[in-house]
Amino acid sequence: MADLVWILVSAAVVNNFTLALFLGLCPFLGVSGKVETALRMGLANIFVMVVTAVAVWALNTFLLPSAPYLRIIAFIIVIASLVQIVEMAIKKLSPALFRALGIFLPLITTNCAILGLAIFSTNRGYGLVEGVFFAVGAGIGLTIALVLMASIREQLELADVPDAARNMGLVLILAGALSLAFMGFAGLFSTA
């Protein structure tokens, strides 16, 4: 249990996917403009990550032992196709949910964070439960980073930012500051 907590906390804050591992930055910059959108994107991410964790576990257990060199390609295809199908299903079954979360799904599919999750949990040899905890932690971490950044950016939209700094450079510097702040979580729960 303690290990599971550590996996979750570590993925969420200590080794935050966005701020410490540099995963999923393109959408991080793209959809962190509004808190509302950021939150939805985060939730959609958690969902896809859990789906991914399960798929990865299945692949690692049943298919890949016989052909480990197909790992990358199998992961990506399975994830991409799964998400596409889920997307279509949501669009059909619940248009409201689709508008809220679904529109982010294609953005997420082709995103480092998802494949990164797959590769990390494979490298660390996570089982199904550990993998899901890892996925939830990573998703929460991504959501935290997105929402924090979005609320900061909403505030800065009204600030007197010099024209020359009104671009993504500023967002990256903010991410740097956030990343500095998150260094405070280093070593959390890692030593008894």
């Binding site: 939209e157 009204l158 600030a159």
Partner: protein, 442 residues
């Protein structure tokens, strides 16, 4: 009870009332000309019924109300109507007004009893008489009094609340009225009680006017349920929502009126005026005005004919000092600066403050440091910090939709406390104006 009766938040500006608080009310000599705007009240402007060259006596009707939420205008002096033209208005624009040349040596004797005796009137008659006498609120907004005295039947009124706070610094108009005419206040309450069918009245007075509290308590008629309630000295204690909160502990719901909580709030001088018009039979043609500030030579509390031009008034007060710099109608917290000495005083002018240059050095503005002092000051619990940032970005719709701009009463507390000197309430006034202008177009 010590220091308990008040509202939450608010500010403590210096009171600065000592210049005129002790001065007896005097009568201003008639000027050579008065200018009577057709729009001296909230609501539809009055319709003129005289033409250039007409001769009128003091108190004669010269413009009649145009509908229910409207108020008539009466000649404030005997003389001749010169023209109906545009005249500068206290709101900074030019508005239609009747110019009247005052007869130089007239005794200014009005026709007898233009307003009937109140004792013989029923409710409807009283209400009609109040409207015909041109009585409007003298607390600043000049809202026609008869409208407030006829609430819709589904809004039962249980209390009359007389606003004797005069929380604005400098002003002593209501103060002197209460000290010198406490009987009129009580008579006014009696008449309002009859109109509204209410038996309970409370007079709220800030503790810094002990002589007024004393005078009102001394003259209180035994047969009326009237309480004189001393209140904490804090701005804006006199704002009606704050006053109601202090006295009843209830909040007037956002977007609602005092009558929604069963209260009618009327300024003390307005109440005295109701009594006065019935007592004298003369409609509302003059009012008490405090002329004060470091920029005027002889500060005074004056009875002034409505329509007297600012320049004439100041001259009667010894003129401006050499360093007079800014002239404000109303109190220093909410009053409006005037650019034109030809502007006439209207029924709603509570005071004239002349600020000296040393009082109004323009202070440098700094960026907002998010100190939150404005949030702690705002009596209606808005977030002026956020509103100010949104205003600067021109996001007026968001201000109204999310941050309750419409609840802002422009009291100026936020601007007063802001250490960065951000003109918050001015931004809000501008935002409201922009939204108002945009609304009808859309």
């Amino acid at each position: 009870m010590f220091e308990t009766l008040t509202f939450r938040h608010g500010v403590h500006p210096p009171e600065l009332k000592q210049l005129t608080a002790h001065l007896k009310i005097r009568r201003l000599p008639y000027p050579a000309e008065v200018v009577l705007p057709l729009s001296q009240h909230a609501g539809t402007p009055a319709k003129p019924i005289v033409r250039a060259g007409d001769r009128v006596e003091r108190g004669d009707l010269i413009a009649e109300p145009d509908g229910w939420v409207s108020s008539p205008v009466h000649a404030s002096a005997s003389g001749t109507i010169m023209e109906l033209g545009l005249s500068p208005h206290p709101d900074g624009t030019f508005k239609p007004a009747l110019r009247l040349a005052v007869e130089p040596f007239s005794g200014q004797i009005p026709r007898p009893r233009l307003v009937p005796d109140w004792r013989g009137l029923d409710r409807a008659g009283l209400l009609a008489a109040v409207q015909q006498a041109g009585v409007v609120g003298l607390g600043g907004a000049a809202f026609p009094t008869h409208v407030k005295l006829k609430p819709p039947p589904d809004k039962p009124i249980s209390m009359i609340l007389v606003n004797g706070c005069e929380c604005e610094p400098y002003l002593t108009t209501d103060h002197r009225s209460m000290v010198e005419y406490p009987g009129r206040v009580h008579l006014g309450i009696r008449i309002m009680m009859r109109i509204l069918g209410v038996s309970k009245a409370v007079i709220g007075v800030e503790r810094n006017k002990p002589d007024a509290i004393d005078a009102l308590a001394r003259t209180r008629p035994d047969d009326l349920d009237v309480t004189v309630l001393p209140l904490t000295v804090k701005y804006p204690q006199g704002a009606e929502k704050m006053l109601i909160e202090a006295v009843t502990g209830r909040e007037v719901p956002s977007g609602k009126l005092p009558m929604d909580v069963g209260v009618v709030v009327q300024n003390a001088a307005s109440v005295a005026t109701i009594a006065e018009v019935f007592e004298t039979g003369l409609p509302l043609v003059e009012r008490i005005v405090t002329v004060t500030g470091l920029g005027v030579r002889k500060p005074a509390n004056l009875i002034v004919p409505v329509g007297t031009r600012l320049g004439d008034l100041l001259e009667a007060c010894g003129g401006l000092t050499d360093d007079a710099r800014e002239i404000v109608f109303g109190g220093p917290m909410m009053g409006a600066a005037q650019a034109n000495l030809d502007t006439p005083l209207t029924k709603g002018t509570t005071g004239v403050i002349v600020l000296a240059a040393r009082e109004c050095k323009p202070q440098a503005s700094y960026p907002c440091i998010r100190c939150g002092h404005c949030l702690d000051a705002c009596p209606v619990f808005l977030n002026p910090q956020q509103l100010g940032t949104l205003a600067a970005a021109g996001r007026y719709d968001e201000m109204a939709a999310t941050y309750h701009l419409n609840d802002c009463m422009l009291c100026g507390c936020c601007s007063y406390v802001c250490p960065s000197n951000i003109p918050l309430s001015q931004q809000f006034a501008a935002a409201k104006a922009a939204l108002r202008q945009r609304k009808p177009a859309a």
